[in-house]
Symmetry: C2
Subunit: 414 residues, 2 copies
Amino acid sequence: MSKKNQTVTRREFMQRSIVASASVGSSLAAGIAVASPPKDADFLTIDPWTKTQRQNFPNPDYGIPSSYEKLVTRLKYANGSRTPLQKLHGIITPSGLHFERHHGGIPEINPDLHRLVIHGLVDEPMIFTMDDIVRLPAVSQIHFLECSGNTFAELKKRTWATVQETHGLLSCCEWTGVRLSTLLDRCGVKPDARWVLAEGADSAVMTRSIPIDKAMNDVIVAYSQNGEMLRPEQGYPLRLFIPGFEGNMSVKWLRRLKLGTEPWQTREETSAYTDLGADGKALQFTFVMGVKSVITSPSAVMKLSKPGFYEISGIAWTGSGKIRRVEVSVDGGKSWEDAILEGPIMDRCLTRFRLPWQWNGDSATILSRATDSTGDVQPTLESVIKARSSNSYYHNNAIQPWLVASNGEVSNAR
Amino acid sequence: MSKKNQTVTRREFMQRSIVASASVGSSLAAGIAVASPPKDADFLTIDPWTKTQRQNFPNPDYGIPSSYEKLVTRLKYANGSRTPLQKLHGIITPSGLHFERHHGGIPEINPDLHRLVIHGLVDEPMIFTMDDIVRLPAVSQIHFLECSGNTFAELKKRTWATVQETHGLLSCCEWTGVRLSTLLDRCGVKPDARWVLAEGADSAVMTRSIPIDKAMNDVIVAYSQNGEMLRPEQGYPLRLFIPGFEGNMSVKWLRRLKLGTEPWQTREETSAYTDLGADGKALQFTFVMGVKSVITSPSAVMKLSKPGFYEISGIAWTGSGKIRRVEVSVDGGKSWEDAILEGPIMDRCLTRFRLPWQWNGDSATILSRATDSTGDVQPTLESVIKARSSNSYYHNNAIQPWLVASNGEVSNAR
């Protein structure tokens, strides 16, 4: 009879007695005890790479990953690509691995020729160059961005395998730019302005309508991602960034903002990006991304080499504020335990959670369930499906189960 | 007579009256008011890039910066390269632009063959594979790393021009790995162990001694930088990361940790990385990086195109805790004003500071002065020099002045 699968408190883990008994007693834990470690001098010749004086600069002026990591890439699909979340650590997504979604390809914009026009219901229409914008007071914030179509296929049936496939339309970077309110204040917002139309300079002329309250609150007209200028596929040289709202509203290659009294009913907020309810009626606007989490390790299609200690680790996020709690179950949802949240817990930002786990070698279904600062709790798949029509597509924030089989293979247990 | 150069409170800036008077009255501020903005339909043909349907994927699986940003690179010198801080925003340094310092070139290590050995004064010497280490409880923290030689040449005379040259041996990333204390706890630290020798697998066999109290506190055995595995030049696949300590102690390509009773007196802590005092005696260990700041914009060799509004922006950091305050002077240090610190203010991490400034077109010397949570205040260059011998080299954390000339050209005013 194997022992019950159980999570391990951090304190228990730190008590060496537990670790040592696992390690020495049954060779289950990480690291191998050695009676006679190498002598100091042995180390001078132990590794082949130590024996060779290397060039200082085989690496370029702009560094790239090790050749051993060449399989850590975005995964392309028809109109975008997904982030390899199961291969990443912490909360920051490197810009080169940020997910993409294009509606008309990636324009190649000369920043010296790019202009942002603000017009409509303003006291004074204005045109801004990139130089104008970079001179203004800036903010830098670390925020997640999630496509409303993230995890969509899993609503209907088990479709994908890895976290990159199921949840990879999600990334998290530091974004720098000017508050949209700073620009709107400069132009003077007329009292009857209730909505802002944002338009991209791509060939799809991507357009979305944004409520004025949100526009005047925390929206960023961003030119920088993770310290450097935006990547082309992220809207170079200028994009909107709307913290917590569905990704497509953060219009890339931003060239125009028009203020008006009503939403514009653009293609991307009528024929697309609307949610069908169970009653067959479409809810046009679902701006805010729901509270959500996913375990990134262990996750499909990893393989646990042997029973023993593993850290369960994942990410949680919400469009409504901060993550307050993440619970983890290793028994398919029968019992739950609070994971450790890694700080600082930031607003509309990924939060990394961790929980020590002693895997006994039996099959186990592992789940995570997030709660945010408004009290919203991540729903089960059943409850999400129940609230939607069968043609529903967007905003699937359901709990994601992974099955750890007794042979160590991990798979999607949706 | 021109108006006095003055900083602008954020509240003043937000009051459109001030901005409008600057903009409309004298065309000094950013953005141009237009009486007749383009009509909606005009925008469909206004930009050349809008007229062309683009490929969805001219960009690679692993994204790269825009071709318009190809001059934003590291700046190489004999044994390393510097980060272009004056071209970066926020606090995160992209991994491809993290500064480098090598003592024997960059080894190319196969992670499957890499081992970490812990031995010496431990109950149980152990060998860890990379798989062993990644399974253990992890932490992710955003920390700066600074070479103790950063800004060294400016101690003697004005030497360099840009922030990249004067301060570019400084970067800030999210680092993920196992606490060193977790590994040491697993091996069991003997009571008489006071120091830890860390050794790299590069051809220089870089070695440094670390006090046991620090080793058991916040040191990370790191495998990840900004979410992905370490870059080769940052120690792939494993490095030490010692928050707040001089950069060279965060030994890269880490393969060995040995516990002992005394420091090892290695080459890199005797013949190098020691500070000569004014009395001619060398201080062997100066582990902690002092409180320091630098204005990154405006900075040499930028050129302000015309008088008007500019945001003064920069970064501050300390090896002793958190940044508590940054003061800015626009009159060569005669008067100071508190800059706005951008949160969250994290431990041993860059903090971005900002201050609105109305430049009247007169020459102005701008400075920043940081204070940390221990009460340490960034010193003047005069006081740093006074405390050192003329052969002193490391740990120059002096206040950095930039001169904005009346023609808008910015230069190093050391």
